[in-house]
Symmetry: C3
Subunit: 361 residues, 3 copies
Amino acid sequence: MTQRPFTLSALAFVGAGLSLGAQAQSTVTVFGVMDAAVRQTSNTGVATNRSVASGSNSTSRLGFRGTEDLGGGLAASFHLEHGLLLDSGTAASSTQFWDRRATVSLSSKTLGEVRLGRDFVPTYVNWGRYDPFSYVGVASSSILVANSQTGPIRAAFSTNPNTTVRANSGVQYLLPNDLGGLEGGVMLAPTGGGTLANGANKVIGARLGWANKTFGVAAAATTTENSLTTAGKFKDVNVGGFYDFSVVRLTAAWRRFDYDTSTQTNWLVGATMPLGSGTLKFSWNQASLEGKVGTTTLPDNGARVLGLGYVYDFSKRTAAYATVSQVSNDSKSTFVAPGGTSGMAAGGSSRGLEFGVRHNF
Amino acid sequence: MTQRPFTLSALAFVGAGLSLGAQAQSTVTVFGVMDAAVRQTSNTGVATNRSVASGSNSTSRLGFRGTEDLGGGLAASFHLEHGLLLDSGTAASSTQFWDRRATVSLSSKTLGEVRLGRDFVPTYVNWGRYDPFSYVGVASSSILVANSQTGPIRAAFSTNPNTTVRANSGVQYLLPNDLGGLEGGVMLAPTGGGTLANGANKVIGARLGWANKTFGVAAAATTTENSLTTAGKFKDVNVGGFYDFSVVRLTAAWRRFDYDTSTQTNWLVGATMPLGSGTLKFSWNQASLEGKVGTTTLPDNGARVLGLGYVYDFSKRTAAYATVSQVSNDSKSTFVAPGGTSGMAAGGSSRGLEFGVRHNF
Amino acid sequence: MTQRPFTLSALAFVGAGLSLGAQAQSTVTVFGVMDAAVRQTSNTGVATNRSVASGSNSTSRLGFRGTEDLGGGLAASFHLEHGLLLDSGTAASSTQFWDRRATVSLSSKTLGEVRLGRDFVPTYVNWGRYDPFSYVGVASSSILVANSQTGPIRAAFSTNPNTTVRANSGVQYLLPNDLGGLEGGVMLAPTGGGTLANGANKVIGARLGWANKTFGVAAAATTTENSLTTAGKFKDVNVGGFYDFSVVRLTAAWRRFDYDTSTQTNWLVGATMPLGSGTLKFSWNQASLEGKVGTTTLPDNGARVLGLGYVYDFSKRTAAYATVSQVSNDSKSTFVAPGGTSGMAAGGSSRGLEFGVRHNF
């Protein structure tokens, strides 16, 4: 029976909620990731800090998802996903419990999917997949994206949640799977009222790409308007691709954020190599800033992140991992690896090291 | 195997928690509703607002419930239900995660059920079932109940959570199912200390009705005392009924809220008609206010809501729906459909329109 | 099929998350406790209060846990546990949703377990198991531990969460099960940055004991440093044991908290007796304080709690229970049973009474 676990999963939950017509094929699945690591972060000029970190290989989470086959190639589905911190037992977001995703969809095998709710923006979909460190941990490409440095992101969102990863109130159309490798979608999200702190952004985005097993390339763009973007739209565009040489899989991506007179340009180069019972990972990230925010000129505000890691797979679901990283700043910037003591002076460097365990279920 | 999903559901969870005696029959079920819609709300004199709304056909939720057969007709059961907003991934209540229900019960097939915990008050049980729009969405009867207008509800609760729908700390006795159509129960809820903002209300309520497949009628009353009700009890009484003519099912209900010298009277008339692969729904709601709150005289503070909707059933669990509504105010009142821009002047009207998808699991 | 529920539980969830290698044996379990009671608490000189209380026999909770057999005696596992209040539907902790436990582990049958995340501290593991009332309800030994009285706990943590029960960011090593009755473990938790209100404590603790079915004894010690412990470490040591005479099972434990110049010493004696279809429970708790906190001298700040209860088992999973307790204070202290009206004068006494239902799933 172990060869057909998914079928049983489907049947096991069918009784929930409502009695079910004979034709309905249904699955509801509880899933998640539990990931914790011991971390050490050293920032120039301040004390080294040791901590227990959550989600350094893959964000710790608990989710519920399900699909109902409506017949004729049509399906209804939902996806609820909650991020959590294993070190403290807290929700990853203090206000948005289902911060990672909350969507309901109608989809057709031939026509594609209409999806409503909170989800990734197209530019993040097109960025996260090229980061060998999955946008988490001490070598994450997020170090140079979602941060509090002066630049277009901070200018357009201040310290409120930004749309570089996700947006509320998305209305999405996603292409069907069987288009010979073509993939993509569009997202429209109305402001909907409320405050920027609660995610009131008007978002328009799209993504288009092509991929097979060995090669893929895609481009995406997202624009955001909110109560702070009085000088025009916040623009987020990127292009990325991968090539799998079997001995090594290479990825590269370029992303630019624009707002008013400021620009931030990020580069990401990644490599993953099968090695022993696991995978060796490498990434190089760079952020360059140009223009001005208010009276602050941005050149000399860039940074670079080098990351190296190894993931040892105990099984398809469980792994141990080690990651080391180095963040180097231009003379005016203070990007740091997560988990360090605050107070590093501009131009300093930051080193991160972590050993952890990740378990999928 | 699809014919017996519930049995499998039962077995699938049995291992949880404790080892189990041979006689125990147990079920634990994960259930929920995922419902999202595109909404447009137009209030007189202010800009039309478009948004993505959660739960316009049925409140989006995730729940866990279970029953254990204790033998001899006795059973233990529990019900935990969390309301959520699909548009933002937030909990429906920022303070009460299991806002919809949190109860544990002992029940007997012949003697009825004792239920402890947070649950609907008897007057809501007797109101919500007569609203074709299930107390949610742009045509919801809640527009004229749980609102911030001047009247007995606002006078007795200010902007704190009120007891027009649910109460904390309920001790309930519910009649057994097999009384030839007779149904009902009583609820006692002690204040229990704490603050009104945290639900400290003393509630006494009861409901009694009779129903079969084609006809039913019931009456209920709930009284509430809290730290604001210094002028006596807040009283909530109602009567409702339905008649199913097969081609159309009609419902009607009357509800009155009293506090101090003010009274609010609500009327609800609803109709649902099978049409094609779905259901056509219509409702008319009216609220009239009388008396005074402080120095404010309440006549001319009433309103009316007309609602029309169609629910297309893809299956027993999944539907698409469209709803349109119009809210008309008396000269001094500002009742509005949900989702609009704030700031409508007194006496204005509000129009709501929404298209959505609802999936039960 | 009811004889093998756990196997089915395992299979039913296997499909979640990832496809699964043929050798993997996996279980994921949804589990919980739903417990509510009617409570009356009478404190000297203030009005008696009646309330509906959650978790008076066993804390109401919902959890998810799982294990994956990695082969060769190695296993990966996780445990997520959320405390909740059935009376109001709120989370037990407003900030830490998974307040009871959030851990991921790698374990070996012969070498033991490494566990990362939020969990019990060793001294609580060694205390809670000797309390017949499981540290909850009107007769709980917690009345004399986690409270707001003047003493070493308050001095070291003020009103922030303390480490007398749990700690964030734990790195634990736990002995394997098959050591002929020997049991224990060590916990290290780095401060990790952040604030004391968010659990930033540096914790070092250990526990060692020996037990079989009829007799056991164990000792534990935990030290905590945080932003308030400027006068040295907060120390928490205890010793406890049990003896099962079959007609009665006796437990006894001693615990001392030290900080700066103040000391609190707690004693616990418990007895549980099978009686009819249930269990009779008795406990006596005493707290004595010595030394000074600031200019307050602590003698005359102690208290005693007597508790008597009966748990009637409907099944292995469901029970009804009744508990009565009396808290007696020294001339300067104000320890009280939970649920009473505030404002009791120093030296008063407090009586608690509760009747409830507890259902495990």
